[in-house]
């Protein structure tokens, strides 16, 4: 099964490892993911104002491109996934949006391309038990915990990703790699997102609550699917490291762990 | 042994063995295109039966009277005829046990108008079907002429969906293939596209010719009421005057009465002496019923309920439900 891959701009620069490990793992699992020839930034946020159609132009252009290929569009970064799924939903449900956007782009797109997250491909099309079989160096004895954030789960009516209050997909993923999946209450709380640019103090407190809650539940590593969550969680580790002898909790992209588990030989030195 | 002999042998055997006390079939007529119905009560008459490419009329409705004076009747039935039988069964007008059905696979019947148009009418003595061609024996010519059957079939046979009988006790000959598929709804879509006034003018011209001879009603297996509203005086549903609105009332209401019950056999249009395209009205209703309430073909399964006799809570409406 061939997929059109939409990496997103952050994965080409600050989060290169996210895309590389994703492609590496895809190969190991026999998934053919081919990057779209031409794509632009997805806009990072979905326009919430009713009359803002301009931000939909870029995602719809990419969706139409995937449409020509007749393939599903796979995204990795949670923000891109959020924007694409909601843009698709708008094109399908809102006649005015569809007329304005496709009219401007002069492209005939009706919202029929299926947007799937890399994790959804692993779960629905590969299957976590098949992944468990393909794992060569399982992450034994590691207590890992998922950090979902907001953009993948909410709003449920448009994302249809998992139960927004009680998700399980990342925990199942972690267990399929042989690690122990730990739960902590703040796993679906917001990391502050762009506030770390404008309101650093608030972002630090928010991330602090998340990290302390994780630490209280014995979490040894956080698994994320969004470069901004990764940045925030990594940047504000001092709420843990300030206390004497406290060390922070490493943050990994889920693809890093996947690639590592699928690779041969002793567990290589973890990539940051 | 060709079908004519098979039919004759079958009829004779039925009547001798008293399996039925009446056999209804098609006979030969004075002209090549005639196939008048035969009502045989003794084996000798079986010799007059004739299978020709013109056995078009649907014999089913004769059962309504004949079964009142006969214990059991045998009937030769083509594919479209059996939909008529199913219609009468569904309307409880005949009992299945009172009828012995002898199925006749039919690969399509000849259209005299098309033969005439090709200059084969005068002096044409006989037309026989052989494989995919018609064999024409002409007066004063030794060898018979062979012509491709496809070009001379009746329109309704080109659109036929059930060449083989759907219900029978015995089958004469092997089942046949459906002729080329032609979209029966093509004409309806054409008429439907016209603007409103143009449509009115189209039907005004057609229906004004109606002389209310009721041939269409008499041949139609779906029109099997004991007493038809168009014959009633109290109440006077439709006036007797030779006026357009009465003719429109008759044709619209008759089509509505067979909505979801018309078996699309085309007999009404064939029987109409004034060449009114009645099937274009009935097929419009068939199309609308299928579009609105799902695929339905009348006369296929006598146990199911016609679309206007049932409903689903989430049915769409042909009008705004605001």
């Amino acid at each position: 099964m061939r997929y059109s891959l939409y990496p997103g701009c952050t994965l080409k620069t600050k989060a290169k490892v996210f895309e590389e490990t994703a492609l590496e793992a895809a190969e190991a699992l026999g998934l053919e993911m081919v990057e779209l020839e031409e794509w632009q930034c997805c806009g990072a946020v979905y326009p919430l104002a009713k009359d803002e159609y301009f931000p939909l132009l870029s995602p719809v252009r990419s969706l139409a491109a995937a449409g020509e290929r007749g393939e599903k569009l796979v995204t990795l970064c949670a923000a891109c996934h959020h924007v694409f799924k909601r843009a698709n939903h708008a094109i399908k449900g809102d006649r005015e949006a569809r007329e304005k956007v496709t009219g401007y782009l002069e492209v005939d797109y009706a919202g029929d391309v299926e947007v799937v997250h890399y994790l959804e491909v692993l779960k629905n099309e590969v299957g976590f038990d098949r992944i468990r079989e393909k794992v060569k160096s399982p992450l034994e004895g590691k207590k890992l915990a998922a950090y979902y954030g907001c953009l993948l789960l909410r709003p449920e009516k448009e994302m249809h990703f998992d139960d927004p209050e009680n998700p399980t997909i990342l925990e199942d993923f972690i267990r399929s790699l042989g690690a122990e999946a730990v739960q902590y209450p703040y796993r679906t709380d917001c990391c502050g997102a762009y506030l770390s640019i404008t309101e650093e103090g608030l972002a630090r407190d928010t991330v602090g609550k998340i990290l302390k809650s994780a630490q209280r539940n014995g979490v040894e590593g956080l698994v994320v699917a969004c470069p901004l969550c990764h940045y925030n969680l990594a940047k504000y580790q001092e709420s843990l490291t300030d206390t004497r002898g406290g060390e922070g909790i490493p943050v990994h992209y889920f693809t890093e762990l996947l690639a590592q588990a699928l690779a041969e030989g002793p567990a290589e030195e973890e990539r940051t | 042994m060709n079908l004519t002999e098979k039919m004759r042998q079958e009829a004779a055997q039925i009547l001798e063995s008293k399996e039925a006390d009446l056999v209804i079939g098609w006979g030969g007529g004075e002209y090549y295109w005639q196939s008048p119905p035969l009502f045989l009560e003794d084996a000798a008459g079986a010799a007059e039966l004739a299978f020709s490419p013109f056995i078009v009329n649907n014999l089913a409705k004769y059962l309504l009277e004949e079964l009142e004076s006969h214990e059991k009747a045998a009937l030769f039935v083509k594919g479209c005829d059996t939909r008529g039988i199913n219609r009468l069964l569904q309307d409880h007008r005949i009992q299945r046990e009172a009828v012995l059905l002898i199925g006749v696979p039919c690969a399509g019947l000849a259209d005299r108008e098309k033969l005439k148009a090709a200059g084969y009418d005068a002096g044409l003595l006989q037309v026989e079907r052989q494989g995919d061609s018609f064999i024409l024996t002409l007066e004063g010519e030794e060898g018979a002429r062979e012509v491709p059957a496809g070009e001379f079939l009746l329109d309704k046979c080109l659109e036929c969906r059930y060449p083989n009988p759907l219900v029978y006790d015995r089958l004469l000959g092997e089942e046949v293939q459906k002729p080329r598929e032609r979209d029966p709804m093509a004409r309806v879509r054409e008429v439907q596209k016209k603007p409103v006034d143009e449509k009115y003018a189209y039907w005004q011209e057609k229906l004004s010719r109606c002389i209310r001879c009721y041939a269409c009603r008499n041949v139609c297996p779906a029109c099997n009421c004991r007493e038809c509203i168009f014959d009633q005086n109290a109440p006077r549903w439709v006036g007797k005057a030779n006026q357009l609105s009465e003719k429109q009332n008759y044709n619209i209401i008759r089509s509505f009465h067979i909505a979801g019950r018309c078996i699309d056999c085309g007999e009404c249009q064939r029987a109409c002496p004034m060449d009114i395209p009645l099937m274009e009205i009935n097929r419009k209703i068939i199309q609308d019923l299928t579009e609105l309430y799902g695929e339905y073909e009348a006369g296929i399964d006598p146990t199911d309920v016609p679309p206007l006799g049932t409903y689903r809570a989430e049915d769409p409406a042909g009008f705004s439900e605001r």
């Binding site: 803002e52 907001c150 909410r154 449920e156 917001c190 997102a193 901004l228 940045y231 | -």
Partner: protein, 134 residues
């Protein structure tokens, strides 16, 4: 700011609905949005209070409030609202009223520190500008 017949009869609700598509009038002040909001401590007006002030037409108090600019658009409130309202859209509605005025932008490139430019993923910077400038 006092509640007066002018504020109550003002068309603030209509204006917000134009931008957000949300019927703010149907909010029953149950407080569940504020209950689950991660940015609660930094807000002078809690989300349900913003809705209440909108219902009462107190536009200035809302536009003065810091709340609009600490909302992280994380959709927790929208996911749990029992009246099926999407508060993240209402917040964006108020932000847009401010941002679309001349000089309304609340974030400027010169504010970015060198570390932020070096480390922060583009996603952070772009979403920041998307929310705080037009």
């Amino acid at each position: 700011m006092k509640v007066t017949t002018d504020t109550i009869c003002s068309d603030l609700l209509k204006e917000v609905e134009e931008y957000s598509g949300e019927k703010v009038a149907s909010c029953i002040q149950c407080g569940k949005c504020s209950g689950g909001c991660p940015m609660l401590e930094a807000m002078d007006l809690l989300p349900h209070q913003v809705m209440r002030l909108a219902q009462l037409g107190l536009k200035e108090d809302i536009m003065k409030s810091k709340t609009l600019w600490v909302c992280a658009s994380c959709f927790t409130c929208a996911a749990r609202c029992q009246r099926d309202l999407d508060l993240s859209k209402v917040m964006e509605g108020f932000r847009v009223i401010q941002l679309r005025q001349k000089g309304g932008n609340t974030m400027h490139p010169r504010q970015l520190t060198p570390e932020q430019l070096k480390d922060a993923p583009q996603q952070a910077i772009i979403s920041g500008f998307r929310k705080y400038s037009k």
